[in-house]
Symmetry: C2
Subunit: 333 residues, 2 copies
């Protein structure tokens, strides 16, 4: 089969790879569409020691079962493979499973014509649903999960909140769209890339601004979502959140810099690390995407998998106007 | 009147001071008992730029109204003076008021025979309640507030949690006692001072241990309360809390050191800054103390206010076995 392989630092190679061999309990899925995630970019730049080349990256995937108990079914993949028997899994917090694995990390991912994955990681997709739209399920669920954590920690219903989202990649943008869908009073989106801002202005009704030109209002937000996760956005989060407010930290860009814990204590700020999603988050997000609750999604750009290497290069150089690039696998023929 | 005045770095002076002049809306209260807080110690050591000598410290106070609308009434002081009209005050989150003041900080405190304080800061005390016991209302409310924040952020009821409390000064110990009163499965208390550990073992049924000898169980606790608040206890909190767990940061010892935000994100940890208490927290804590819900409180040591300087010196040198020293004002006569 053809696959887009991370072969070395800043090198993606579209080449022939062996067809994956399903293990007991696995299905074989023909991939139709698969998104490029920030964490794929992170690996491509050599910043993720867990992702070692040569490796097929990619985990935001939709496809059709070609071997398994439900052949012919259209499915989204839950990329997080968990044990299913620990207390966290049994409690519905599968994302906390200490034995979790992720496709495109220690095992082959979905930038390929086919993937082997446990049957229990398949989520049925309505047959008439557009594949590129369904491929947003995973980043969308990351946003939904963060919003639900914020909701539990908030003193008042989040529909009354003012929210700031830092970073308008797909997770940040989908977080903003989910907040709007939940009726949050005001959602501001900070993004430094002018091309992305223009795309978002054109295709959504999000309020997007350049934080380098106009800083977010000091202590102005009950909720702040950090979809970047570096020392600058963490400082900005603490400065922007109001006393008693909630910061949800989603991004994993770096682990540097002190945080002003004194201010966080005197101002009673809640800081929540948010990691991926649960299977229920994925299902609910798929429903939102299918029902158009998150808008037209015209900000998604589609390209052929065969041209994936160029997409990585353009993303790395800030040349992409789209918050999300979805790679489509050509129909075999 | 007599007062214990913070006159210089590591110098407390028991001396004659002018009787405070109540402003409109103030009551004049004759102090009966007043506890020494960690923040008083912090000031005494010159570590709190908000508390400038000469200053009468002290804010954990109980006394009797001698001039005001309810003369003769026994009261606990709510030391936090807030505007009463901002959104936070109106929402019952008075501790977040941007215009808050605290007795013993920018204005005179309660290490004195008398204090002037707004009438609305008086909390009635049952006439038969022991004054030294009532003086624990303020540190107890700090613990209750932290526990209530943890309760809101917890995925499951906290009665099912294992909890770790770092630091067994009065706030840490009262936090542990409140957790026990709430039926929390297991409460471990970490304290480096051997004298204090012995007192706690003698007078409570808390499990207390020396974290320098035996580290708390890695990822062993759903709830961690940091009643110290320095870079070491923050690291220990992150190491000790389980995935998906909650850290409540109460102490304000220092503001140094990086936090492992990557681990906090991948393990989905919630970190909450907790600042003081609300008026309702104070009332509820007073009720708990009056009803013996927090035990016999025999770990409290009482001394005369006139000997307060020596108490500060002994506390500073780790010579005090009691987690709390309450200073009693001699009856005038």
């Amino acid at each position: 089969m053809k696959a887009l392989v991370y072969t070395a630092n800043q090198e993606m190679t579209y080449r022939e790879e062996p067809i994956p061999q399903p293990e007991p309990g696995d299905a074989l899925v023909a991939i139709e569409s698969v998104g490029i995630c920030g964490s794929d970019m992170h690996a491509y730049l050599g910043h993720d020691e867990r992702r070692v080349p040569p490796l097929i990256l990619g985990h935001e995937a939709v496809g059709t079962v070609i071997d398994g108990s439900r052949p012919g079914e259209k499915v989204v993949l839950n990329p997080l493979i968990t044990c299913g028997v620990c207390t966290d899994c049994l409690a519905g917090r599968q994302n906390l499973c200490a034995n979790r694995d992720l496709i495109g990390m220690y095992r082959a991912g979905a930038f390929a014509e086919q993937i082997a994955i446990p049957e229990r990681n398949l989520i049925p997709v309505p047959p008439d649903m557009n594949a590129a739209r369904a491929a947003l399920t995973e980043p969308g669920a990351t946003g939904l999960h963060a919003v639900l954590l914020a909701e539990r920690a908030s003193a008042r219903p989040i529909s009354e909140a003012r929210a700031l989202v830092l970073g308008a990649g797909s997770v940040g943008l989908l977080t903003a769209l989910i907040l709007q869908d939940k009726g949050v009073t005001r959602v501001d989106l900070a993004e430094t890339n002018a091309l992305r801002r223009k795309t978002i202005e054109m295709h959504t009704d999000c309020r997007v601004f350049d934080p380098l030109q106009s800083a977010p209002e000091t202590a102005g937000y009950e909720l702040v979502f950090d979809a970047v996760g570096n020392s600058i956005t963490r400082q900005s989060s603490i400065a922007s959140v109001c006393s008693g407010g909630v910061i949800v930290h989603i991004g994993l860009m770096d682990n540097k810099g002190e945080m002003d814990v004194r201010a966080m204590t005197l101002r009673e700020i809640t800081f929540i690390g948010s990691y991926t999603y649960t299977p229920v988050d994925l299902k609910r997000t798929l429903e939102k995407l299918y029902s158009d609750a998150l808008g037209s999604l015209e900000w998604v750009e589609q390209r052929p998998l065969a041209q994936g290497a160029r997409a990585f290069d353009e993303l790395n150089n800030g040349l992409c106007a789209a918050p999300k690039i979805v790679l489509n696998v050509a129909s075999p023929g």
